[in-house]
């Protein structure tokens, strides 16, 4: 029984792992020459509610990728404004580590293989087409192509192509498989009613920072620098709405995290202005290459789905990660991907799907994010264990805890321990 996964980001890899554990033959198709997609430029794990979610997924039996990010962390248990007990993984080491792991599980990874279309009959997908016309059949399909870009979308809804890790010009743009299957995709909205949202961070080359900053980063994992006061004022007066939105979150500070490169926690920052900050006089962007002008645009092709991660309208198509909702983050991708992979196999075997209960953080975010998509207000929000409204909700509902044993016990009581590593066939 073959599970075909489109997109080898965190969600796709997580889905591949649980589908494989369930006993299926698994093939992943990835358009670029590396797996992990945006995971190659991320790095933040276990901060705030993500700690709970990470321990939940470990207890559920799909903690493989969390273990890998833990093992490859440069900093463990650090705090930065608004975030506690964050673990930062090394973006330069992570891809090889995950690729090795999934290959060792006998999961077949097809790189530089862009999926552009599907063959459908009634409400079932029969197979996928690659950009060279090659046709591959499968029993059940999982789309984890994200919702970011491609180039034309970044132009229409953002500041244009910023030459990010997705590398559309080199490997071709992502195609929404759900859309090709005739499903109407959903979009996230902005406060001003526009569609999509800027990706939230960039990377600076450590070699281009002052020694003092680099030492600080290496030692503490986080460095906070002040935005020159004249820039705060000028921004408010001169810049157009979108840029103002981009700098609003950390308007008075520039926050850097050490993930192997210096992760700049803002959507983008004009290079000239950035170089006015002491220690950053010679700074250059390493991701996106044009981080001074913009960043990739997300949330333009979210698939409508049910809480088992199946796409509405298609019998054998599942989704996860950003494709499955207005999620932010690797942990969110990993947990939704793990569920999608498991349920994909269940569906192919005509076993009822697993829906995680709402007294787990994972079950709750999946259901909550879906429910919120119905309203305009909900489409203007983002859903992450790490902060904003959803983390508040976790705390209010008593879902947030960093007591590992408490989490294990909760999963045990729900009879869900290791359920995602059960062999189904």
């Amino acid at each position: 029984m073959k599970v075909i996964i489109i997109g080898a980001g965190w969600a796709g890899c997580a889905a591949a792992i649980t589908a494989k554990k369930a006993g299926a033959e698994v093939e992943i198709f990835e358009k670029t020459d590396m797996i992990l997609g945006l995971g190659n430029v991320g790095g933040i794990m276990r901060n705030n509610g993500r700690f709970t979610a990470s321990e939940e997924i470990i207890a559920l039996g799909a903690g493989d990728l969390i273990n890998i990010t833990d093992e490859n962390s440069r900093h463990k248990n650090i705090d930065f404004p608004g975030h506690k007990h964050a673990w930062l993984y090394d973006v330069n080491k992570i891809e090889a580590a995950v690729l090795n792991y999934i290959k060792n599980m006998n999961i077949k990874v097809h790189l530089t293989s862009r999926v552009i279309d599907i063959k459908k009959s009634n409400h079932r997908i029969e197979g996928i087409y690659l950009s060279d016309g090659t046709y591959i059949e499968g029993n059940v399909f999982i789309e984890t192509t994200g919702s970011t870009g491609p180039m034309g979308n970044c132009l229409r809804y953002g500041n244009g192509c910023s030459m990010c890790i997705l590398r559309c010009p080199s490997f071709g743009p992502r195609v929404s498989i759900s859309s090709r299957a005739g499903v109407d995709d959903l979009q996230g909205e902005r406060e001003d009613g526009g569609l999509g949202a800027f990706s939230g961070s960039c990377k600076l080359a450590k070699e281009s920072l002052s020694n003092e900053i680099v030492e600080n980063l290496d030692k503490n994992g986080v460095v906070i620098l002040k935005v020159p006061p004249e820039d705060i004022n000028l921004d408010k007066l001169k810049l157009k709405v979108c840029q103002q939105y981009a700098l609003r979150e950390f308007a008075e500070n520039v926050i850097l995290l050490d993930t192997g490169h210096a992760k700049l926690m803002t959507t983008f920052y004009p290079l000239e202005k950035l170089r006015k900050i002491p220690g950053l006089e010679n700074v250059k962007y390493i991701d996106p290459y044009s981080g001074g002008k913009g960043n990739s645009i997300r949330y333009l092709s979210v698939a409508p789905r049910t809480d088992d991660m199946r796409v509405k309208g298609i019998d054998n198509l599942f989704c996860a990660g950003e494709k499955g909702g207005l999620f932010v983050g690797h942990t969110e991708a990993i947990v939704t991907g793990s569920l999608a992979g498991h349920n994909a196999v269940r569906s192919a075997l005509a076993i009822p799907p697993l829906i995680l209960p709402r007294n787990t953080a994972i079950g709750d975010i999946i259901e909550y994010a879906n429910f919120m998509m119905i309203s305009q207000e909900g489409r203007r929000k983002r859903y992450t264990f790490a902060g904003a409204e959803y983390f508040k909700r976790m705390q209010e509902l008593g879902l947030y805890t960093i007591d590992v044993n408490e989490i294990k016990r909760k999963i045990e009581k729900l009879n869900l321990t290791n359920i995602l590593s059960e062999k189904l066939l």
């Binding site: 279309d117 950009s131 046709y135 491609p150 192509c161 929404s176």
Partner: protein, 325 residues
Amino acid sequence: MDYEIKDCIDAGTEYCPCNLAETGDCILCSQLQGKEFCDCTNWKGVCIYQEYAWNGEKPNAQRKISLSKIIKKENLDKDLITFTILAKHKLVQELSVPGSFIFVRNPSTNAYFDAPISIMDTDVVENTLTIAVELKGIKTKKLDELNENDDLLVRGPYWNGVLGIKNVNSSKNGTSLILTRGIGMAPMIPVMKKLYASGNKIIVAIDKSDFKDIFIKDYLSMCNAALIECNSMVNGELSTEIKEIINKYSEVSNIVFCSGPDIFIRNILDVISDDVNVACCNNAKMCCGEGVCGTCSTRYKGHVVKKLCKMQIDPRYIFKGRRLI
């Protein structure tokens, strides 16, 4: 494979974005087809929407016309002439790929006398183009009125003269079969040269049709081509001779290139196995070459219209699902 891949021959060239982008009629780009999101199944290496934005939401400058002196005219047969003309170096260079063609007309006639004629040969040192014209009707007869030292009005470069050009470019170090009838001998030459340069052994079956002679023998020996003269069609059906040639060579060839009328191409496609790579000359009637005039627009099942002057498809899809009315 049964998936039709559609390309636009001009995508990513200096003539892209073209006028079609301006009115939301781009052949490839969903954002330039009136949609609001990317649906880029036909990525050709360049984001056309981005190019359009960089160009101030205007198309790039389109092809120009030039007056080109005829330095040689040959009458090869009763209704067959060749012209060798002098042209700008850049134009000659751009027309040196298989599938190149130009629109030509007698300067004393107006734009709707434009005839699309395949480039038979180019010389990038002498800066000349050579075309062969079979005299048929008013357009070609007006061309025949021109003589050496006269000017010919040329519009180009255009590149969609060969459908399945991807297959021509990817066929290397094997055996290539070329099947030609009549004036198809002329557009076949750049394809044959390319295949030969890619290390292929060339086998050419030529039906000289109503012509007295095969007028391209020099080119054949330049490419060490094995020539088989034959009669290709009888009463609109393939002859036994050519069917034998196809049976003998098509399965071991890395490509079968057909150069002749539609009925010739259609019949060959019907007998060739689905695994064989095919390319053929593009017989669509054309007048503007820019996807505007509608002359080349061919209608298919499912309300599909293909502008064959720009759209690159595998030859099998020229006839699949084609509507007569």
